[in-house]
């Protein structure tokens, strides 16, 4: 299916485990973004990428790692999950700069860290 997809949609893990959230888009958009959304904080940017092999930190990058070896994929890894990383994670993409073009969101991954 065309669009932007995320997997898994739901994940429960334990403190200290490594978790990777996947994001795939079929539009060949240059820009991709990872957000977390928590009550009281709204959407907060974790990392973003302007193109393959170009990534940069957002507002809350600590404890997360990203890579972008291919334009269509932008995985987010929690190297050692903590309870504070329990959240809903959204991936988004845009055709050009995120500030001048619309960001389109994936369906989200609900992550629970026990």
């Amino acid at each position: 299916d065309a669009g932007i997809t995320q997997s898994p949609r739901y994940k429960i893990t334990e403190t200290g485990r490594q978790v990777t959230l996947m994001c795939h888009q079929t539009w060949s958009h240059s820009y991709m973004f990872w957000y977390r959304q928590d009550l009281g904080h709204g959407l907060r940017l974790i990392y973003y990428s302007a193109a393959a092999d170009i990534t940069d930190k957002g507002e809350v990058p600590d404890g997360y790692v990203v890579s972008r070896s291919k334009t269509e994929n932008f995985p987010l890894t929690l190297e050692s999950a903590t309870r504070s990383q329990t959240s809903v994670y959204f991936c988004a993409s845009s055709a050009t700069s995120g500030s001048s073009d619309t960001q389109y969101f994936g369906p989200g991954t609900r992550l629970t860290v026990l």
């Binding site: 009281g40 709204g42 500030s99 001048s100 619309t102 960001q103 994936g106």
Partner: protein, 111 residues
Amino acid sequence: EDKVVQSPLSLVVHEGDTVTLNCSYEVTNFRSLLWYKQEKKAPTFLFMLTSSGIEKKSGRLSSILDKKELFSILNITATQTGDSAIYLCAVGSNSNYQLIWGAGTKLIIKP
């Protein structure tokens, strides 16, 4: 520091009412302001505004931007229960690739 403030944080109205949601911003090198609707899933795009005074309209929803006073409003007329959602405002600048997000307005429409 760049910021986007939405008001009210929550709003409860009855079906058929008209609502106005507000978004004010302080963003260096403003480029665009976007409105999104979020139901129990991902945010979906509504409008992007870049110029003052030009209303964007889609059905019962409309939005306008005032770049002098640094705010935008989102109007919803003849509200329906399906309009219940969180409405998010985001602002982009020419300084970087990021959007600065407001906390959202939670709108509840009672039948």
